[in-house]
Structure formats: C-alpha cells, structure tokens
Symmetry: C3
Subunit: 147 residues, 3 copies
C-alpha cells in the first residue's frame, strides 16, 4: 500500500484536514483585506491614497482579526507538520480522527470567537488549549516512535 | 515510480518552488536585520546598547518590511502544505506549472512592491489576490480528490 | 527501503527534530498565555473582564516573548519544509545531522536569550545567523538536486 495515497485512510484524513485548515487561513487573510477596505483603515500610504483616506494603524476590529490570524500561524503549521509525521507512526485510525477533528473544530471556534463573534472567556482559552493539547500529544507520539 | 523523487516531474516542480519560496522568506528576514543595523532602529535594549543607541519601535521602513514578511508567513506555508498534497492528486503537469509559477511570481512581486519598491496600488493587491486564488484552487482540488 | 519510514535514518532524524521544534513553538505559545495571566496584561476586553483588569497592549516582557515567537514562525516552518526535501536529496547522514542539530540548538538558544534570559548581543544575532545559514545551505542543495 502506498503511504501517500488515497488507499491510506489516515493520509486521506490528513489531506482533508490540511485543506480545511488552509482554507480557513486563506479566508481570514482575505477578510482582513475586506474589512480594511470597508472600514477604510490601512497602515500604508499607497493604500490610503488609493482609497482617498489617511494611513491608520490600530483599528480595534482589524487588530482582533490580525491577532486571530497570528494565533493560527502559531498553531496550524505546527499541527500540519506534526500530524503528517503522526500519520506515519501507525496510529489507531479512531484516535487520529478524534485528534484531527478536535484540532480543526478548536481552530475554527477560536477564529470565530476571536475575530468575528467575541463571546466571554473562557471560550477562546478553551479552544486554544484543545488545539495545543492535540498537537502536543502527536508531537510526543512522533518523538517516541521515531527516537 | 517513486512519488517523492526526481523521477516525478510534479514533485521536482514542487521542490524547486519550495526552495525558491524559502529562500525568499530567508532573504526578507535577513534584510530586516540589515536595515535595523543600518538605520540603527531596534526594539530591544540589548541591541540598542550594542549599537550605542536607544530602543525604538515603529520605524516606517522596518514596519513595511515586517508587514511584507508577515504576509509571506500568512500565505507561503499554506501554499507549501496544500501544493504538496495537490501534487499527489494526479493533476495535469501544465496546470500545476501555471499555478506554481503564478504563486511564486505573485509572492516575489508582492514583497518587491511592499517592502522595497513601493508603487501605487493595485499592484500589491493584485499580487496578493493571485497568490490567494492559486492556493484556494489547489485546496479545493485536494478536498475533492481525497474526500 | 521506504523513504518515509523508520528504516530511513535520515527521515527518523528529520521527524525527531520536527517534533522537538514543534514542541518549542507550542511551549512559547503556552508561556505567552501564562505570562499574560500572571502579569494580568491582555489586549482583549473580554480577557481583561475575565481577570478583572483593563485591556493593555505593549507590556515589554510579553512583547519580547512575542518577538521571539514571531522569529520562530519566520524560521522554523521554512526549515521544516526545506529539510524534508533535503532528506530526499540523498545527503550524507553526518552532514544532515550537523545541519539539523545546528538549527535546533540555534533556535532553542535564540528563544532562551530572547524571551527568557536576555544576555548581551551578539548572542541572539549569532543564533539567528546559524539557523538562517543552515536553512539556506539546504535550500541551495534542494535547488541543485531537483533542478
């Protein structure tokens, strides 16, 4: 059986989650641009000129989206590297599915409550923690398997 | 035929683009340090002490390079994950080549017009959009293929 | 011999370093949250409300950890992409081991002297440079091999 193919259900699972997470990163990046245009807040003189406004840094809505986006960059690539290796450690399919879905749902929730629909803590802290723990469990498994 | 080898033209294409994009990220990181030393603007007391100046945050040239760099981090890893999986979906070589070159040229242009040679919009917006669309097309293809 | 398996000592080396580097990224992310809670400095109103304080941006300790973290994001994913491809270029095991350990030790030192134990320059500049050079050497090798 080819490891990196459709015949491997673990790799198929990985690929779908990777695509879902990349789409989310793309969407947040795109929405930052859209909100900037809509609210006419941009840090660069050439953009401000194009929109007939003045450069502005620190709009609270934009900064929230940017923090959500940055949090993704701190967590999603780490997950995608380590879960790719995790798939090669011969894990249980059920456990992998639980870890992958936990991470993906946690990251989607994190972005939702951070960037678009702020609700009281600990909503964001919990989704951050779930993602971190899922990644950490896989990193440890990778270390134990390959060391 | 080995998928992850020189015998696979799609993987060879992927590897060259990955190396080109990583070199670009490295170069921007290095240039940030160089401009900081040259303009003597650094946010950290120990650096300022080393250069005989005072810590300073918010130099406009540095902040432009940093925003260009951050935009890379928001887009290049997403592309490298999804295009790796895209290569495994049996795509047409010509389509893959168009998507990969579009992305790489778009990202190089984006950095050029953002960090080093500011020209009026929509130059930067267009290069940002081309990169985003190329990544999104591949993410959808990966989802359809593996789901 | 399977390339992506325990039988390949180069891939085993890669997997362990990837896990070590991902654990470091996770740890820095976690420590940011912990220091925020401990020092009661957070940029978001909902967090401040939860802790009974006011939103605050720009605490110097937090900003140092954030800069260290961001520097990781600028360097570690680039390394993990390029070193994965480097493993497939049939390199000498000894050279790979030197490059991988140089990078990992450099990044751990970088975080230590940046975020947690500031010591005078050029400690941080050197660890930054070592990581950058290791990545660049591998990127060039990947380009030469696959082009």
């Amino acid at each position: 059986m080819e490891v990196l193919s459709k015949q491997n259900p673990l790799f198929t699972l990985y690929s779908c989650h990777a695509a879902l997470l990349v789409c989310k990163i793309i969407f947040v990046g795109f929405s930052t641009s859209m909100v900037r245009v809509f609210k006419k807040v941009t840090p660069n003189p050439e953009d401000a000129k194009f929109m007939g406004t003045k450069p502005f840094i620190g709009d609270p809505t934009i900064e929230r989206i940017r923090r959500a986006h940055r949090n993704d960059l701190e967590n999603i690539p780490a997950f995608l590297f380590v879960s790719f290796l995790y798939v090669l450690t011969n894990p249980s399919y059920v456990v992998a599915k639980i870890l992958f879905w936990s991470f993906t749902i946690a990251r989607y929730s994190h972005t939702l409550v951070y960037a678009y629909l702020p609700i009281p803590q600990p909503a964001r802290a919990l989704s951050f923690a779930v993602g971190l723990i899922a990644t950490f469990i896989m990193a440890i498994q990778v270390l134990f398997y390959f060391y």
